[in-house]
Each structure stands twice: as C-alpha cells, then as structure tokens.
C-alpha cells in the first residue's frame, strides 16, 4: 500500500467526539457535543438544523475561527489553525461583508493582496472569478451599487480567488429572496462541478440542502449533535426541476422527519 492511496482515502475534514462549551455569565452553554463527521475530497456537504444547533459553530471550528473544548478535528490532515495559516479554505459569510470602500474588483483582490500575489496574477484571477460568478462588467462598481444577490456572488468570487480546495459557506443565501436563491443555487452547483472543490454549506432550508448536497448532515439543538448523515442518491447533474422528482421528495422527507424527531420546539 503506497502513501498516495492513504492520502486519497483520508477525509479532507475529519472530526471525532468534537465538543464546544461556551462559558457565559449565568451558566455554560453546550454548543456542540460528540460530533463525528467525515468530509471527503469533492463532497458537497450541507449542515442543516434549526437555529442554535451549532451548525455555524461547527463551520467556524473547521475554519479555526472558534476553538473546540473537546475532541479532535483535522483539516487536510492538520489542525484547523495550521490549515487556516496555509490558506486551505475560502469562507463565505452570512452577509456578503464586502468592504464598502473597495470596488468589487478591489474586494476580490483583498485576499490576493494579503497573500502577496503579483499584480498581473491578481488581475487575471479577479477577471477569472468574476467571470465565474457572472459579475464581469461590475469590476469598478462599489458594493452599495449592487443588489444583495450580486453582492453575495462577489463575496463568493472573493472566496474563490485564491483557489483554496475547500469552500466553507455559512448560510450564504439566507437573506435572499427565493428566486435569486434558486438562481444562485444553480450557479453554485455549476461552479462546484467545474472546480471540483470540497464544499461545506450551512443552511436551514431543506430544499436547498437536498438540491445541493451529496451528503446532508442533520443536526439537533441543545446540545448541538449530529442526528443523521444522509447520502444523497441524486445524480451530480441536477437541473432545477429535479426538485419535483420522487427521489428528491423522498430525501427531503427523510431530512424533515429527522429534524422533527430530534427537536423539541419548546
């Protein structure tokens, strides 16, 4: 058995008995408990659950923006912090959080400037990723001149610009209306297919999770736990109307059942 085979079978993100307890003034809050998760190279994994179930916290731990208080986690075989320092992932926040004093091109350039790319390389990459998210022609606009959907696309372009293998997305389309969201979901799938990235996607929309994912991680709250991991049987090629197929509806029902059984809606 040679080492490359081992490398290939090792999950990109691997968590074992992961836990996080926040210390608050009145009492400790258990945000995550005994979370086990494996995300393979090229997977599109959705984390779904009600608000407060720790799905964003889990994503932040993967990104080394928060530190777990129990268990182990590796990203690309390293600690999350090492992975972050090696710029292993691009992160898309809930809000586009573009810097308002930078143009769209300037915002996409931000990580490239920090990572020290050459000027010509920066311009090439900006052009390429803006093309990828269909924002060519908006280079010199300021964020406030763009719609919410376009801003979020720009922030995705920013996360793609330095070509990290992992894309972490925290409810990126949560604040957008359904029409725009459908459109962006389609584009995201296209992008995932053409780039082959590993995507970890937080959402609380069942159709969104089922439509996008190869695997769906259903979580419950108090404490945040993984209830079930559902492998999607849908093909990688997914037109929007796949959402009317019996297969899609079946998976969606399973997710809904899992969610319903696992929480108490006090």
């Amino acid at each position: 058995m040679n080492s490359t085979v081992v490398m290939d079978t090792e999950p990109v993100i691997k968590a074992r008995k992961l836990g996080l307890v926040f210390q608050t003034k009145d009492s400790p809050v258990e945000a995550l408990k005994d979370v086990n998760i494996d995300i393979e190279q090229g997977d599109f994994v959705s984390l779904i659950g009600p608000s407060g179930c720790g799905k964003t916290t889990l994503l932040r731990i993967i990104a080394s923006l928060d530190k777990p208080t129990a268990g182990d986690i590796t990203v690309n075989g390293m600690t999350p912090e090492e992975a972050r320092l090696q710029r292993a992932y691009g992160y898309v926040f809930q809000a586009a959080s573009l810097y308002p004093w930078r143009t769209i091109a300037g915002n996409v350039k931000l990580p490239l400037e920090i990572m020290g790319f050459s000027k010509t390389e920066m311009n090439e990459r900006v052009k390429k990723v803006l093309d990828l998210v269909h924002l060519s022609g908006f280079e010199n606009k300021f964020p406030w001149q763009l719609s919410g959907g376009m801003q979020q696309r720009a922030s995705i372009a920013r996360a793609l610009s330095f070509d990290a293998d992992i894309l972490l997305m925290d409810e990126p389309f949560g604040a957008l209306d359904e029409i725009v969201r459908d459109h962006l979901n389609e584009q995201l799938l296209e992008l995932w297919k053409s780039t082959g990235k590993t995507i970890c996607f937080v959402t609380h929309s069942i159709p969104e999770a089922v439509y996008l994912s190869t695997r769906i991680v259903v979580m419950s709250n108090r404490p945040g736990k993984v209830v079930e991991v559902i492998e999607s049987s849908l093909p990688r090629e997914r037109p929007l109307d796949i959402r009317d197929s019996p297969e899609f509806i079946e998976i969606a029902q399973r997710v809904r059942m899992d969610l319903r059984m696992s929480h108490s809606y006090e």
Partner: protein, 287 residues
C-alpha cells in the same frame, strides 16, 4: 444651492442682532457724554453716535469690516499693522502644532488599540490632560521651554499640539475600533498579519473619523496658538493683536482680530472638508 437660503437667513439675523446690541450697549456712553455736556440727545442722534464711536463697547459690524479691510488690503503684508502679517505668525504656529498634535494623536490611538496596557494606562491621562485649563498651563509651558532656550514658534506650537492631539486620539481610537467581528474574521480566514489588518481594514474604515477629528483638531490648534501668544505679551500674532487691543481699549482692533481668527479657522476647517469630500468620494464612502 439649497443651503443658500438658510445660511443667508441666519447671517442676516446675526447682523441685525449685532447692530441691535451695538446700539443698546454703546448708547450708555453717548448718554453719559450728553449728560456731562448738559444737552439732550434724541433717539436718532443716539443711533447715529453708536455707529461711529472710537472705542465702542461693541463695535458695529461695518466698523469691524472696515478695520478688517484696512488692515489686510490697505497695508503691506510685512507691516506690523497688517492683520495678514499677524495672521501668518499665528497660522505658522497653528500648522506646526496641528501636525505635531495629529501625529501624536494618531500614534497614541494606534498604541491604545493594539495594547491593553496602554488602553488602561494612557487613556485616563489623555482625558485628564484636557481637564486642566490651558490658560493655566500655557504660561508654565512657555516659561519652562524658555529656560531651555526655546521661544517664539515652538512653544506656541506645543501648546497648540496639546489641544489638538486630544480630539484626534479619541476620534481615531473610535475609528480604529469600528471594524465589526465579521470584517475581522474575514481577514483571519486569509491568515492576515496584524499589520495587514491595520492597513487594509482599520485605516480605511477610520477615514470618516479621521477627517472629523482633524476638523476639531485644527480649530483647537488655532485656539492653542492664540492662547500661547497671550501670556508672553507677544509682539506679533492674532493673540498679540487681542492683547494690545485690550491694553489700549481698541475694541475695534480686538473684534477684527477675533473675526480674523474666525475666518482663518473657517478656511482651515473648509480645506480639510474639501480633502475629506475628495477622499471619501474616491473611497465610495460619500453618498
């Protein structure tokens, strides 16, 4: 253009009030004079006299304007009687003080934002520094600096800096601290260095604060420079004009120096405003 109407209205109201107070305040002297001479004065005579007195309690606006015109346009700017000459003396101290004060203010803000110990240790002193009346402090600064051989421009600039570093440091601490957690997290995901966080996020986001602070700072600098001229019995500068004016009861001279310094302050603040507009426009922050 919409602002012209309100601005004119307010200006006219001020001028009318000013004339009104001139008449009321100066009429005492007119009546005294008439009493001593044993003559009766009519209201129209009082009105006429209050506008042209040599040493009025409150000079009428046109007297101040004539004096301003006379001491700026009609005098050579090298003349000791030129307000431009005196204005420049004060302006040079103001600008030097402003540069020192702004530099100091920004440096302190950088230290305070990056260092907890400085935040707790230095911030209270910065605030305490401004609770001491500058009028009490200025003479001591001048005397101490004179004893080590510094006089003229530098002591005035230091007093001016003493007043202007404060709004800049307080404003810039607020400015440097305004990035929200997501904006900070974003840079963390790029493994940005602390210096990059500063230049790419803290500096640009604090620009609106910087300009507001600079406007307050430059006005404070001017006040500082004038105050610095008072305790030395300075022979030149707007402060000296105020001082000699009060020695000799030259109220018209006092008021023209006052208005002169107000105009100077307005020009300085206006200049910063122009740079602000241009900069924020280019940054897409002005809407």
């Amino acid at each position: 253009m919409k602002s012209i109407l309100p601005i004119t209205t307010v200006s006219i109201v001020i001028v009318i009030l000013w004339y009104g107070f001139s008449v009321v305040l100066n009429s005492t002297w007119t009546k005294d004079q008439a009493n001593r001479a044993g003559v009766e004065v009519t209201f129209s005579e009082i009105l006429k006299d209050t506008m042209v007195q040599q040493r009025p309690l409150l000079p009428a606006p046109h007297q101040v304007i004539i004096e301003l015109w006379d001491t700026t346009v009609n005098k050579k700017i090298t003349s000791k009687r030129s307000l431009v000459y005196h204005g420049w003396i004060t302006l040079s101290a103001t600008l030097l003080g402003f540069v020192i004060g702004t530099g100091l203010g920004v440096m302190l803000a950088i230290g305070i934002v990056h260092n907890k110990a400085m935040d707790y240790g230095v911030m209270p002193w910065i605030i305490a520094s401004q609770t001491v009346p500058i009028l009490a402090l200025a003479p001591m600064i001048i005397v101490v600096l004179y004893s080590i051989g510094l006089s003229g421009l530098v002591p005035k600039a230091i007093i001016s800096a003493y007043l202007s570093f404060f709004p800049v440091s307080v404003g810039m601490v607020a400015g440097f601290r305004c990035p929200d957690p997501t904006q900070m997290d974003l840079l963390k995901t790029y493994a940005a260095k602390k210096s990059q966080l500063f230049w790419k996020l803290r500096v640009p986001i604090s620009m609106p604060y910087l300009f507001t602070s600079l406007k307050i700072g430059v006005a404070a600098s001017l006040v500082g420079a004038i105050v610095g001229e008072l305790p030395t019995g300075a022979v030149a500068g707007l402060g000296a004009r105020l001082l000699t004016g009060s020695y000799y009861g030259q109220t018209v001279q006092i008021w023209s120096a006052l208005i002169g310094s107000a105009i100077l302050a307005a020009i300085l603040v206006g200049l910063i405003g122009l740079i602000q507009k241009h900069t924020l426009n280019r940054m897409g922050l002005a809407r």
